[in-house]
């Protein structure tokens, strides 16, 4: 068994309104960041998983995303994985 570190990015699905992103974007110009646009907000969840290999780890994390970490009605998830030194 190895330990894998995962970063799960939970994003609002395309087409779902993101008032937090819109609000940030609206205040950017006033702050002198007119060069920034397209703000979308989501959650970043870091966790560790024990698994035999990277594929197994990924499939566990994806299952966790499906069952628990996202609400598929409005969200999807992007998983990135990294093996940890023991």
């Amino acid at each position: 068994m190895s330990r894998f570190a995962a970063l799960v990015e939970v994003r609002l699905r395309p087409g779902i309104a993101d008032p937090a992103g819109t609000t940030i974007e609206r205040s950017l110009a006033a702050l002198g960041f007119a060069d920034v646009s397209g703000v979308r907000t989501g959650k970043a969840i870091r966790l560790e998983v024990e698994a035999d290999d990277a594929a197994a780890a990924r499939s566990r994390v994806e299952e966790l995303c499906r069952r628990f970490l996202t609400n598929p009605v409005i969200e999807d998830a992007l998983v990135s994985l990294e093996e940890q030194a023991r």
Binding site: A20, T23, I24, R26, S27, T41
Partner: protein, 757 residues
Amino acid sequence: MGAGRSGPPADGDDPGPAPDVALHRGLGLTDSEASAIEALLGRVPNHLELALYAVMWSEHCSYKSSRVHLRRLPTEGPGVLVGPGENAGVVDAGGGIAVALRIESHNHPSAIEPYQGAATGVGGIIRDIFTMGARPIALMDPLRFGPLDDERSRWVAAGVVAGIAGYGNAVGVPTVGGELVFDQAYAGNPLVNVLCVGLLPVERLVLGRAGGVGNLAVLLGSATGRDGIGGVSVLASAGFTDDVVAEEAKRPNVQVGDPFEEKRLIEACLQLLDEGLVVGIQDLGGAGLACATSETASRGGVGMDVDVSAVRRREPAMEPWEVMTSESQERMLAIVTPENLGRVLEVCGRWEVAASRVGVVTAGGRLRILDGWGGEVLADVPAASLHEDAPLYDRPRRAPADRGARAADDPGRLPAPEDPGKDLEMLLVDPAWVYRQYDHQLFLNTVVAPGGDAALLRLHAPGVPGGDGRALALSADGNGYWCAADPRAGTAAVVAESALNVACVGARPVAVVNCLNFGNPEHPEVMWQLSEAIDGMAEACRSLGLPVVGGNVSLYNESAGADIDPTPVVATLGLVEELRSPPPGVGLVAGEVVLLVQAPGAAPSLGASQWAVRLRGHRGGRLAPLDLAAHRRLVEVVVGLVAAGVPGGVHDVAGGGLGVALAEMAIASGVGARVAGVDGHVGLFGEAPSRVVLSVPPGRVGEVIDAVVAAGLEAVELGTAGGERLVIEGLVDRGVDGLRQAAARVLPDALGAVGSA
């Protein structure tokens, strides 16, 4: 059990490294405090011991600069069950129910992390209440920030409000009122005060003390981390500077609140108390375990052995001194008998509250910190010395040099406004944007919600039997302008206003708590302000029959060397014997007569008024005099009239004067008025204590005037309510709806767009 290797750690044989000067200073102890500790122990303290004294003798925990003055406050009265000194004051509300209340500041943490600073302030004050065995039922949040046109102040204000909402709503305690002030004096150092009220059956009253040698100390709640280490000594007891390094050093002291943990703690602790499973219970606040263990032991006249290795930790490699002084949130210490331990753990398990036995009550009054039961003794000090032997300072006091000149600089000499209606509009701020973010209705108690003169709540809570129609009222009030002009008279006027607010919802004021927000006590002017304010409060409370049942002192409110305006905040508790229907509230009823009831010869002054300070930037002048005896009679008359259901609307005249009071009544009810006889802009905006506006049905005006005159007060018929305009002859003619919109716009315009990720 705790019978380990005995003997103090440094009894001649192994003194350890002698603490150097930098060490105690680094912990915030002065050289003379360090020598006092050495004399008290009869030896050189080790690092852990020094850390215990440093946090316990900090300004925050020991009140070393204010205690000599606080003694002058009246603290006793017929209904007082518990006065200052315990976690909260407790007042008998009749019908077998008692009210616990307490107010605290969280100013410094909120300045650097507004959301979490305010949130953890809410968490801390709630723990003070259920520690007494009371079910927390309401919060209030007196808030003061820098001006709305300052970007950082807007960020602080929006974050603080979100933090209070985020924590208070989730923990399930409604926030039923507060205050909201924006002024330059608070730009570098905002004031975030929080008040909590709880109800308990009188017989469940518990005090935070340990008793019974062999009883166990059980630590409940969150694991202990490095957050908030030394918070009381560093963060709460020193002002802000421009020094970036110093700011950085303070940062680790900010904590993150967990309202979900706190909610489970409330339920678990109340169940433990209901089942009679605890001998004593104490929250962990400033100074963490060091404070909770030594305080319970010293109050109970016993000692305690604490196994520091038994404390659940969130982080690896924590030093014993870090564990003992950490201010990690959402923790409680329960003292239980060994027989009850099993059941205690069962109750905690049901609520998913972690519990571990960390101490045992001992005879002899020593607080000993051990590394494992029977392990090395890491510290050994007299428990009581951490409290009772704390230094007491009577710091030098001096009235400010410009006092006379400032008082003589009367804003009455400023030119009269060309359009008083415009000025009136600019003084109106509707705080609804704030309180709409707070659950203010939970427990089905809120009869008068935020927006009235005082909150009015049914005396009713889960697990608290009875109540039968009783109600309580609460109002929190402060006025830095008045207190800067004259701390003694200003503070007395604040007490008077608070009592009158409570009366306006039909409740008899019975007790107060206070939060004294002042600058750096090492400045003699600040100590003078503090001393004067306490005298003003003492005098007003004595005259009005209001015992002070608790309080909090927050010093070092300064930034870049400038002290805040002296800002004592007073919260008044009122009681209603039988509440049959909601009181009339702030408002006007079309066709009714608008009456001003006041102490005889009231002479409003523009000195330190909202109009002078906020609109003209003029902070000089004198306050209108306060006749406390007349004020007491006014309070009684108003309570009587409201309880009898006579007026159709009531509002006290406070900040902003008669103009603002009338406008607020018109806005609240959507009913205008036509009034006459207001004497220019001084009459319109001048402030004076002891004034109330009533909307009275024409047929009952005679009876109201009789009652007023019989009480030695005076009634002035101002005019008639009705229509869609507020007309104050010769001064103001504005549509009520326009005024409403102007007031409603201020906060959403300034704060609504302060986005955060």
